[in-house]
């Protein structure tokens, strides 16, 4: 690209493309020290371009939501304490707690055969995010950003909203640019949460623009007197991108111009605080997720805490479902209407499930169950209106179509066009990958 420098010098418009090029050219000879966020070609055809992970920490009760266990035989067995009915053309069963999501059931691919290694929250939550139960490993969002880069350089590639744990956004040994950008951490007021350093009020916007012009003029002089140095070219590009992020990101975070109908549909600002159900403003999170997805953010994780309703199971579960039902439905509806669902993979689930309660039982307390639980996927490349896998009659153990977190990870990477057994990074004497030394298997049965 012989004209690149001249172009940079002559004008600052058309920067998106040039910036991309500058970052791309650094990438062609990239070492870990010069990692890049520019979009990368995928080794496999990509069915999804981005992921929205609806993270449900605490362990959602699969038997009271998406895993229907009708009573059969003479003896009553654990099932659900809530009513289930069939919905949509697919006739999938959904509990009464998700009336809005149920309307979109034909978009869902329900994985009823999920299983994980441990019933400890922290460890299973870590395994869900990193594949590893105890040690420091990159989170799936970091792996995806590492493998794919990001489409919109004006925004971070990986955003985590209302994160439950720092590990959610950790790049661990991957280069730091693949780490997640946090917007609010567990329990923060999401209407005020923002990206670090994204705004400053010490100078007016116009002064800032003038200042940027001065900085870039200095930078171009610096570059001009120092031959062709990709580092310095990247600096110029990154300043421009950062500057744009200052307006793009706050604009995206500012939802005041959304129609009232939309805010209502997402239940923005509705905060329920009942038992384990924390006020997460999940509607705002889902709306932001849609806006980020539209803007080309690669991996978006939103969080509603928490599903660990031991005592007061009925009351707290109802509150958790009520907090998330309408926002999720609104998100699915909008993604679909805007044609985004086609290449956006939506993932719903938590670190494990819970044992069931017998209907009519006075007992109102549940524990943890990692041997069988439910996730659902929607959009980008997965079959819609399908229930894959199943647990045994009591819902305690996955028995058919078993999907481990490793398999889920492998499948998500596969849908994004990445080879789960090849996407790796050298660290401490060996190559590491998301699916770990045991590897995972792509759940082929659910691919379109």
């Amino acid at each position: 690209m012989p004209n690149r420098r001249a172009l940079l010098r002559s004008t600052s418009c058309g920067f998106g493309y040039l910036a991309l090029n500058a970052l791309c050219s650094a990438q062609t000879k990239a070492t870990p020290a010069e990692a890049s966020l520019s979009p990368k070609r995928t080794p496999l055809p990509a069915r999804a371009k981005r992921v929205i992970f609806l993270c449900m920490p605490g362990g959602p009760a699969h038997l009271d939501t998406f895993d229907y266990k009708p009573q059969s035989g003479k003896k009553e067995h654990p099932g659900s304490v809530f009513e289930f009915s069939q919905h949509g053309a697919s006739g999938l069963w959904v509990s009464e707690l998700f009336p809005e999501v149920a309307k979109h059931v034909d978009k869902l691919c329900v994985l009823n055969g999920m299983h994980a290694d441990t019933g400890n929250h922290a460890q299973s939550f870590l395994q869900l995010h990193t594949g590893e139960k105890l040690r420091r490993r990159p989170s799936i969002g970091s792996w995806v950003t590492y493998g794919l880069g990001t489409e919109n350089q004006n925004l971070p590639g990986f955003i985590s909203l209302n994160a439950h744990e720092s590990t959610v956004a950790s790049s661990a040994f991957l280069p730091t640019i693949y780490g997640g950008t946090s917007i609010g951490v567990s329990g923060e007021d999401m209407s005020k949460a923002t990206i670090a350093n994204v705004a400053g009020s010490h100078l007016s916007d116009q002064v800032k623009r003038s200042q940027l012009n001065l900085i870039q003029a200095m930078n171009r002089d610096h570059l001009a007197s120092r031959q062709d140095d990709p580092q310095l070219e990247s600096v110029i590009a990154s300043m421009e991108l950062g500057f744009r992020m200052q307006s793009v990101a706050p604009d995206l975070l500012d939802i005041s111009n959304e129609p009232a109908e939309v805010l209502e549909r997402y239940r923005v600002g509705k905060k329920i605080s009942v038992g384990t159900c924390r006020p997460s403003d999940f509607g705002r999170q889902c709306l932001l997720a849609r806006r980020f997805a539209e803007a080309g953010v690669r991996f978006i994780e939103v969080t509603h805490n928490g599903w660990d309703q031991h005592k007061n199971h009925r009351r707290d579960l109802r509150a958790n479902c009520e907090s998330t039902d309408a926002p999720i439905a609104a998100l699915l509806e909008d993604l679909d209407q805007r044609g985004l669902l086609e290449d956006t993979l939506v993932v719903w689930g938590g670190e494990f499930g819970r044992p069931g309660l017998k209907p009519g039982d006075k007992k109102d307390e549940t524990g943890h169950n990692a041997k069988g639980f439910t996730f659902w996927l929607a959009g980008g490349g997965v079959k819609a209106g399908l229930a894959h896998g199943r647990t045994d009659d009591t819902g305690a153990r996955a028995v058919e179509g078993k999907v481990h977190f490793r398999d889920l990870h492998a499948t998500i990477l596969h849908l994004l066009g990445l080879e789960h057994d090849k996407l790796s990074f050298h660290h401490q004497g060996r190559l590491h990958r998301l699916t770990g030394p045991l590897g995972g298997a792509v759940v082929k049965e659910i691919l379109t």
Binding site: K29, T31, P32, A33, A35, N120, A122, K133, L134, R135, R136, Y146, P156, H164, E165, T167, P175, T176, I177, T181, V185, E188, N197, V198, G200, H202, L203, V207, Q211, N213, L214, I215, M218, N219, H222, S225, R226, Q227, D228, Q231, L232, S234, V235, I236, S238, M239, L241, G242, F243, S424, F425, H426, Q428, G429, R430, R433, P437, L438, G439, A441
Partner: protein
């Protein structure tokens, strides 16, 4: 770099994508996840049929073929055959030999008790070994195996594996093992262009350059060199004045000017702050544990001592071999002074500051700590990842599991002292710390009981003259006090107390009172959780203990052991502690004065209170005073009491002084602990380690004698480890023996990295088969050899040698375009690489520009008195990061909550050894430069100082000063014009030139200078 290997070496094939963390079943689970291919199935069927003719000849064989072989092939071969991707548990079931031999867990058959056979147990899932791992097979299968064992395990298969070759990994290319070869002394090449060369370094560089048909670039000018040396050696910019005088000196005598500059920089304390930080990256330094996996992140309030040790070691130019030895075995080295002892103990913090996964639900916790130590020692010093060998022989590097456990024995015989871990046992069990002392002598182990003080005759009168509410000598049973059982009075011994207590019934005000008494505690501080409660001002039986209490710490909290503390009950739970360790058996005089929230505790007549601070008053006024035990009788004193007095007012300091003076006893001071350091020491019980099969500490293999890596050969035999010590000293001796193949090369490479930006081996933490090969192997060996022999392991001398080379002094500009094209990564070093400032240098330079940089080191750390869990969300961590103008190395390096002023620029996470930092260029860095309050503040301060210092100066003058302060140079005329234009534009945008517009415009200009690439890059 995503899908393939490293830039200088492409590994042959898939490396060991194998478990380092897997539990016992990993191998089996591994293969069972892979769907068997049809060809494999076909192979099994063919095998089956090929043996069928044997059926008729032996009924046992028929049984095997019918009942046993199908099970083996269907459920076991996937992991237990030569065709398995990874053979589980070293067990092969596809040959007669294999099945008879058994695997890691031992033989499969118990012929006397077939039911007890390992293979049957595994099939039945009765014990830990559950096979196949997915689901148990029907009981009939186990029954068939029992029957088969009873038949004598008839097996028609051959003794050889049924197909395939031996399961060894492919042989490694010998060239890949370069770092295991002894360091050579390469002949320095003769060159034609010898006038260019200043040091043999240059000859090696030039030889390769010439061989590839290139020429070195021009030399850098004086200014470039001075800036480069300043940033490389001390991490700070030179001042404009320093640059001017250096230019003049350089013009007169280059060599002399450079020598005096380099020697001056090496001698400044800032050198250690720069190079110490490089080592802290390698030592995975952090001041908190980091999220332990369960969301807990305890602070390490004493970690900073190790930081200061490292800085001091580089400043003192501690020879590298000694530096390594102190960090691994400082506690085992002789010391001639207390300072030396303290320093060496602190050095072992290297082994203790690592990140630890939670102890809860982690049966391997102890071995995780050992693993961190093995990892940091081998990666930092040898550039080798030994950790893979925790679970299996290293697939490519010549590091067998046996060697791992030889080293594990060394560290398993070592007690790691990380401290209380915020008293959260689920994270890590609390440990003691190294006590730093002002004397070399160990404190007497068993103290004798001192006789009571010989009080002045007038002591009682003097006390009475201050008009106490009550005063009792306690040499006989007092009338106005209630004596609870277990107190004996005598005129010789005063009140001897054992499980007893003295009570004052009269109410004493809670907000203002004084209590004074003498006591002797006879109980050893290691005897129980709390050594004793001497005093309570509380209500009897109040389980919340509202009120004031004086205690002496025991084993519960090691930071309080033997020391006074004040506590105000469960509700407020405030603590104030002293520093002095009260020797068991000694008599001491205590005065506690409360005046509102203020509390003071005087000890033995010292006018400076042992404890002084604020503590809430927690209970109403009607409380009682208890002497000799807490209000709930907890932790009663075993010892003596005398001369007890209580006032219903706060005595002033002079009165408190007089109270002690009147006793006629000399003021006495006990040994004060100087503080605590994290570190390591030998365990009382020294033991070799057993192999942990698959890294599982509950699945043990043979014992391995303590030792080192067998593949790293030194000329003499490794030092032998005797039975009485852990072997850390011998480990250090072996590592620093001079001809250890990696130690000198690794450090040489690290030093080169920090001077050139690009190391000779581009993977400074990996000199193994998977690491990069050296770009200049002979140069590396030449320097490594010089480092050990000529330079006596002196890092400063090594730096001096390298920076005086011509290669170091090349320009980063002006390279021929063919060279740039041929060698974009500057592997040949025909020019100098331009480099970005790291996070610390960038912040320090901003503080330099604003004039706020405080070069004096701060005492301790922002968290040296904070012993807490930092839980997510990191709300608590926010306030722990205090605003500071000290150099960045002194900021609080909390893991998972790094200093916000540094975190945008690739700060290492303190979890992994990080010999080479990432150098990303990302928009979030721009955001930091645009909007971070620290940056804005420095710009504002710089702007203000321009305007304040010389109010009458012109805008042009101010611009000159701003450029000098920020970039240490004069602006060009064009730059002045551009800067003025920016100021004018800001004025017009703000439609004024008033009091708000002027500072804003100048702040904007100064911030632009700080955000410019020139500010962040060094040529």
């Amino acid at each position: 770099m995503i899908f393939t290997g490293l830039e200088d070496s492409t590994p042959p094939e898939n490396p060991c994508l194998l478990a380092i963390s897997s539990l016992s079943l990993s191998a089996f689970q591994n293969a069972s996840r892979h769907r068997r291919t049809s060809t494999q199935l076909l192979g099994i069927l063919l095998l089956y049929s090929s043996f069928s003719p044997l059926n008729a000849e032996n009924p046992g064989f028929a049984f095997f073929e019918k009942k046993i072989r199908p099970v083996l092939s269907e459920h076991c071969y996937e992991c237990h055959s030569v065709n398995a991707k990874k053979v589980g548990g070293k067990l092969l079931l596809d040959s007669r030999t294999g099945i008879l031999k058994g695997g890691e867990s031992g033989p499969l058959f118990d012929r006397d008790n077939p039911e007890e056979s390992l293979i049957v147990q595994a099939l039945r899932w009765v014990d830990e070994l559950e096979m196949p791992p997915e689901d148990p097979l029907p009981e009939t299968v186990a029954h068939d195996f029992v029957k088969w064992i009873k038949l004598g395990t008839p097996d028609p298969r051959s003794n050889k594996p049924s197909s395939g070759e031996e399961n060894d990994p492919p042989p490694t290319d010998p060239a890949a093992l370069w770092s295991f070869q002894p360091v050579t002394v390469p002949k320095v090449p003769d060159l034609q262009k010898s006038d260019w060369v200043r040091d043999p370094i240059d000859q090696f560089i030039l030889t390769r350059l010439e061989a590839e048909g290139h020429e070195p670039t021009r030399d850098a000018d004086a200014e470039t060199l001075m800036r480069r040396l300043h940033f490389d050696l001390i991490g700070l910019a030179p001042t404009a004045g320093e640059l001017a005088s250096f230019r003049a000196e350089f013009a007169t005598d280059k060599r002399a000017a450079l020598e005096s500059l380099v020697d001056r920089l090496l001698a400044t304390p800032q050198f250690g702050e720069r190079w110490g930080r490089h080592w802290l990256d390698v030592a995975r330094y952090g001041e908190s544990n980091g999220n332990d996996g369960l969301g807990r992140n305890p602070t390490f309030p004493n970690a900073w001592r190790y930081r200061d040790y490292v800085i001091a070691a580089f400043n003192a130019d501690l020879p590298y071999d000694r530096f390594v030895t102190e960090q691994i075995a400082g506690d085992l080295l002789p010391a001639t002074t207390a300072d030396e002892r303290n320093r060496q103990l602190t050095a072992t913090g290297f082994l203790a500051i690592g990140y630890k996964p939670a102890a809860a639900m982690n049966q391997n916790f102890a071995m995780d700590v050992v693993d961190d130590q093995i990892n940091v020692v081998s990666t930092a010093v040898m550039g080798l990842s030994v950790s893979c060998a925790r679970c299996h022989d290293h697939k490519h590097d010549p590091i067998p599991t046996r060697d791992y456990y030889a080293m594990a024995g060394v560290f398993n015989s070592t007690e790691t002292l990380w401290g209380s871990a915020a008293n959260e046992k689920l994270t890590a069990p609390p440990t003691p710390l190294h006590a730093l002392r002002d004397t070399l002598e160990e404190p007497a182990a068993d103290s004798t009981k001192e006789p009571p003080p010989d009080f002045a005759k007038s002591y009682g009168e003097s006390i009475e003259s201050l008009e106490p509410v009550v005063h009792a000598r306690l040499d006989e049973k007092p009338e106005d006090l209630v004596i609870e059982k277990g107190v004996k009075f005598s005129s010789e011994q005063f009140a001897e107390v054992k499980e007893g207590r003295i009570r004052l019934e009269a109410p004493i005000p809670a907000h203002s009172y004084t209590v004074a008494f003498w006591f002797r505690n006879d109980l050893d501080n290691s005897a129980r959780a709390i050594t004793t409660y001497l005093f309570s001002h509380a209500s009897p039986g109040d389980k919340k203990q509202t009120g004031d209490h004086i205690g002496i710490g025991g084993t519960h909290d090691k930071s309080l052991t033997g020391k006074f503390y004040l506590w105000n009950g469960v509700t407020r739970n405030q603590n104030l502690a002293g520093h002095t360790v009260i020797p068991t058996g000694s008599w001491n005089h205590v005065i506690l004065v409360r005046s509102g929230k203020k509390v003071r505790l005087y000890l033995n007549g010292d006018p400076k209170p042992e404890i002084e601070g604020e503590m809430d008053v927690t209970a109403p006024d009607d409380r009682k005073i208890f002497l000799g035990a807490r209000n709930d009788r907890f932790a009663p004193l075993q010892g003596s009491l005398a001369e007890f007095a209580v006032w219903n007012r706060a005595l002033d300091p002079a009165e408190a002084q007089s109270l002690h003076a009147a006793s006629g006893q000399p003021r006495r001071t006990h040994r004060k602990a100087l503080g605590w350091a994290m570190g390591a020491r030998d365990k009382k019980k020294i033991a070799n380690c057993k192999v942990n099969i698959d890294g599982n500490s509950k699945k043990l293999g043979p014992v391995v004698p303590r030792g080192f890596l067998s593949a790293c050969k030194t000329s003499s035999d490794p030092p032998s480890i005797d039975e009485t010590s852990s072997g850390r000293l011998q480990l250090a001796e072996w590592l620093t023996s001079g001809d250890h193949p990696q130690t000198s090369r690794v450090m040489t490479n690290r030093i080169w990295l920090h001077l050139f930006g690009r190391p000779i081996v581009t993977t400074p933490d990996d000199f193994g088969v998977y690491g990069a090969r050296p770009s200049h192997p002979e140069l590396l060996d030449h320097l490594a050899h010089r480092f050990v022999t000529d330079l006596d392991w002196s890092v400063k001398k090594m730096i001096r040698t390298i920076v005086f080379s011509r290669t170091y002094q090349l320009d980063s500009r002006g390279a021929a375009s063919e060279l740039l094209k041929a060698d974009p990564d500057n592997i040949l070093m025909a020019r100098h690489s331009r480099r970005r400032l790291d996070a610390e240098s960038l912040r320090d330079r901003m503080l330099q520009a604003s004039g706020r940089l405080n070069l004096s080191p701060p005492a301790g750390s922002a968290i040296d008195d904070v012993d807490i869990l930092l839980n997510w969300p990191a709300g608590e961590a926010k306030y722990l990061h205090e605003a500071s103008t000290h150099r960045s190395i002194y900021l609080c390096m909390l893991r998972d909550s790094p200093p916000p002023e540094l975190s945008a620029f690739d700060l290492p996470d303190g979890i992994k050894v990080a010999g080479k930092r990432d150098l990303s260029t990302a928009p979030n860095q721009a955001l930091y430069l645009f909007n971070n309050l620290f940056v804005i503040e420095q710009a504002r301060v710089l702007a203000e100082s321009l305007l304040d210092n010389n109010p009458s100066a012109s805008d042009e003058d101010h611009i000159h000063t701003a450029y000098q302060r920020a970039l240490q140079r004069e602006p060009t005329q064009a730059e002045v014009v551009r800067s003025v234009a920016h100021l004018r534009e800001v004025f017009s945008l703000l439609a004024s030139e008033g009091t708000t517009a002027i500072p804003q415009a100048w702040t904007s200009l100064c911030q632009a200078l700080l955000a410019s690439s020139e500010f962040r890059y060094v040529d």
